[in-house]
Symmetry: C2
Subunit: 176 residues, 2 copies
Amino acid sequence: MAAHGMYRRRDTRRELLVAEITAELRRYCVDAQHVGHAFAGQHGLNATDLQALIAVMDAELHGDPITPGRLGEHLDLASGSVTALIDRLERAGHLRRDRDPTDRRKVLLRYADRGAELAMGFFRPLGERTDRVMTDFSDEELEVVYRFMTAMGVSLREHRDEVRSARAEPSRRRVD
Amino acid sequence: MAAHGMYRRRDTRRELLVAEITAELRRYCVDAQHVGHAFAGQHGLNATDLQALIAVMDAELHGDPITPGRLGEHLDLASGSVTALIDRLERAGHLRRDRDPTDRRKVLLRYADRGAELAMGFFRPLGERTDRVMTDFSDEELEVVYRFMTAMGVSLREHRDEVRSARAEPSRRRVD
DNA sequence: GCGAAACTCTCGATCGTCTAGATATTCTGG
DNA sequence: CCAGAATATCTAGACGATCGAGAGTTTCGC
């Protein structure tokens, strides 16, 4: 991927900037996927597994462990697929299932040592690179970047919800 | 996904900023995937198909149409998978195969009307949102954001190449 | 307590992806 | 030119991740 800033006017400096930022952001997302894909493959799992592992760690580090149901929502996965996914990761020793003591219908996912090791191996080099990039920016500049990323994120999630709720009326769809 | 800024110190304002920007960027990539997934699903194709369609359009709009081989590299896909992918998209009327007249081993991929329509339907609303977000930023601020995204992109691609070339020596890997 | 709701898991089917190898075209050197 | 190597795509069979429907538990409201 790389376009989308391509279907725009680029006459003024500002229009060029808008187009280039959009394109760079898009490229970044694609390349990030590739990094995940490659890293996961080298450790005997697939991209979804890695994403899941990270989600489990995130949740636990935040203080409230994730359940299979919420993990499925997070990954856009059906319940049966989530079970298979967790089975894989549990079998590989990356995480384990715990029953929620307060609501015993639920299962809480906790990362195990191998999972933590893997996630660290993924993030540490990335974090080091990120830190190095950011040394070229002043505090004020990082404030701008932060404001930008936050606004873009909010906008994108609004859009996501819009797209998802459009499922009801697919308008004029030809199936042929 | 969402962490990675989580394994950091967040004592000073600057450290907080670094962590938050990193986290937002990561969230953005995940949410972007979800938008693609949802949009693709509503139009009878999967995320890979949509990515491929976009890559084909990008290439053709840049003036040099992509080949199955290069598309496979771009999507991290084996040659057999690419053939199946192109078959799907061609059957659905989203693109077509053209033989390269100068090298008849090659196939050039061109988007068809339905493909263009689809890609536009994907990008237009996104672009409108992006434009709206950017109106809150001055030209100088956008310069900063652009510089940041470019630097992050370069760093990430370096990292990607590093990860990919690490295939040779997986060091101490337990397979159990 | 009983029925409805919430959450996870099971099972069979489908579809995307991989690997290995076949086919077609181009390039190189003699 | 012709043979062999290199490049590019496609074919075929197998595998595995995902889906969908439904079963099995546990919890909540009345």
